[in-house]
């Protein structure tokens, strides 16, 4: 396998909010093309802050974030913890949004929108309104919207935290096959050790007060990963390792 090209580099990134709240301190991370990176850590350790900095929604108060190539509109897709759909727009119109904001008409990008909905298994619901969908389906629309422009990087902030476990497992599987199909890079925030091990090839374990990177756990297991991986001894061992790192980050004995 050829070494992956770097996509963006965080060096010593820190964020201090007014009132001397240090949300993040000295975060360094090299994100390479095709990576699936999980940010794992307790509440308040700066995971969302890191994601917002990478998305360009706020600016670091220390350090820098450098992109290997200049960023363009639509290079980043985002999925939030809530589906965050426009309730007045249909599923297809919601997925069209990133194109629409670039000034592209629906008819010009109809195929891309359809394809994105097909990838998340919702092509039959293109004309439905968000309120007619279940929580898991709304999340799928949100994912379709994030990948419709085929961005280089998709940022996901605890996207499945509000879903039941069965739906979450299904979406985890689907997310991996989606990523394999469109070959993007993913940075995924989660509270769940199991989810991070199943999904990622690198887990960044973070600690709170102040928010910082505790250590990185490499998950060497090859993709595609399926249900069999969930019951394998390698999976169990990795979960123990990540869990121990998380406990260490929280200042407890493992």
């Amino acid at each position: 396998m050829p070494p992956r090209r770097p996509l963006l580099t965080l060096s010593g990134v820190g964020k201090t909010f007014a009132g001397d709240v240090v949300a993040l301190r000295g975060m360094s991370l090299e994100v390479r093309e095709g990576d699936f990176i999980s940010l794992l850590g307790p509440s308040g350790c700066g995971k969302s802050t890191a994601l917002r900095l990478i998305a360009g929604l706020s600016h670091p108060t220390a350090g820098s974030i450098r992109w290997a190539e200049a960023r363009e509109r639509g290079d980043i897709g985002v999925v939030f913890q809530e589906p965050t759909l426009m309730p007045w727009a249909t599923v297809a119109e919601n997925a069209w949004l990133p194109f629409r904001l670039r000034g592209q008409s629906y008819s010009a990008v109809k195929d891309e929108v359809r394809e994105a909905l097909r990838l998340v298994g919702l092509d039959a619901f293109a004309g439905a309104y968000p309120r007619e969908l279940s929580g898991g389906m709304k999340m799928r629309v949100s994912i379709a919207r994030a990948l419709v422009t085929r961005p280089k990087l998709i940022l996901m902030d605890e996207p499945f935290a509000a879903l039941d476990e069965i739906t979450r497992f299904r979406l985890n599987n689907d997310l991996l096959s989606l990523k394999a199909k469109i070959g993007c890079t993913v940075i995924f925030v989660t509270h769940s050790v199991f989810e991070s091990v199943f999904l990622s090839d690198r887990i960044v374990v973070m600690a709170a007060r102040p928010g910082r990177v505790e250590r990185e756990v490499a998950v060497g297991e090859p993709y595609p990963r399926d249900e069999a991986f969930r019951t394998s001894p390698e999976y169990a061992a990795l979960c123990r390792e990540a869990s121990a790192a998380l406990h260490a980050a929280m200042g407890e004995a493992a």
Partner: protein, 282 residues
């Protein structure tokens, strides 16, 4: 396995629910009509049994007769009131929404002008109307202005609230995709504000009628008469109580029609997506 399965029989609870829904649909119309009919009969009986003179309390039939007989006077007056109310409401929509959009586009603009919108709102219209009458020649113009002043504030404040109520994650998303100010307004803030605006519009519809009538009581009496309010005043001077009731009836009818029309508009615009217009299957 048979290819075609008989539909599962409804269970008792489901049937009861359907019956209740049917009953509600009928009752929604039937009950108010019955109450109205009973009131009219009672009113009529009270007048007849107590032998009350029509210049004190006319029987409902007498009011109806007057409405028809005096239509040449009442009809144009009602039409004038409708026009004033409608124009004032239209101006309130344009002014209220326009100002709300400016407010959300420029914080400085909002800080500068919001206090004046409030002052306009809290000053009783009765107190301003005579003054306006001095500066503005056209009575018609004064009436529209007065009705506008009372109607525009709920639209302004509701729409401003709505424009600012768009989901903050969606706003972030728009920023990430590099949306322009105009795109953000058009695709995010205006749709998000629609339910709030429609709520304000329903209040404003009633207020513009009240404003039109009240203002006319204050300014429209100088010899000329325009809408229903001057007809009511006139009728009361002449102790023409049946006509007074007929005019009152027309005002209420106009108010009810405005409310119903705006409710229907709101329902049509929101029924596809907004919680307020949803009939959820339980």
């Amino acid at each position: 396995m048979t290819a075609i399965e008989a539909p599962a029989p409804l269970d008792a609870e489901e049937e009861a629910r359907l019956r209740a829904a049917r009953r509600d649909r009928i009752a929604k119309w039937a009950l108010p009509v019955i109450v109205m009919a009973l009131t009219l009969v009672l009113w009529d009986r009270i007048v007849v049994w107590n032998d009350i003179a029509h210049y004190i309390l006319p029987a409902p039939s007498r009011v109806a007769e007057t409405l028809v007989a005096d239509w040449a006077i009442l009809g144009p007056a009602a039409w004038a009131t409708i026009q004033i109310t409608g124009l004032a409401l239209l101006a309130a929509v344009v002014g209220g929404v326009g100002l709300a959009v400016f407010f959300t586009q420029s914080r400085l603009f909002e800080l500068s002008f919001y206090p004046y919108a409030v002052i306009l709102q809290v000053t009783p219209i009765i107190a301003i109307a005579p003054l306006l009458r001095i500066y503005i020649d056209s009575v018609y113009g004064v009436l529209i202005l007065c009705a506008w002043i009372v109607a525009f504030f709920p639209i302004l404040s509701n729409t401003t609230l709505g424009l600012n109520s768009a989901d903050h994650n969606l706003r972030d998303l728009f920023r990430i995709y590099g949306a322009t100010r105009w795109q953000k307004l058009r695709y995010l803030q205006l749709p998000a504000a629609l339910p709030y605006f429609l709520g304000g519009l329903r209040i404003a519809g009633g207020l513009s009628l009240i404003g039109a009538v009240v203002a006319e009581f204050v300014v429209g009496t100088a010899g000329q008469s325009y809408g229903l309010a001057s007809r009511i005043l006139e009728a009361s001077y002449r102790l023409n109580i049946p006509r007074l009731y007929a005019a009152l009836l027309l005002i209420s009818a106009i108010g009810v029609v405005i409310f119903a029309a705006l409710s229907l508009l709101s329902h049509l615009l929101l029924r596809k997506w907004h919680e307020s217009a949803l009939k959820r299957e339980t």
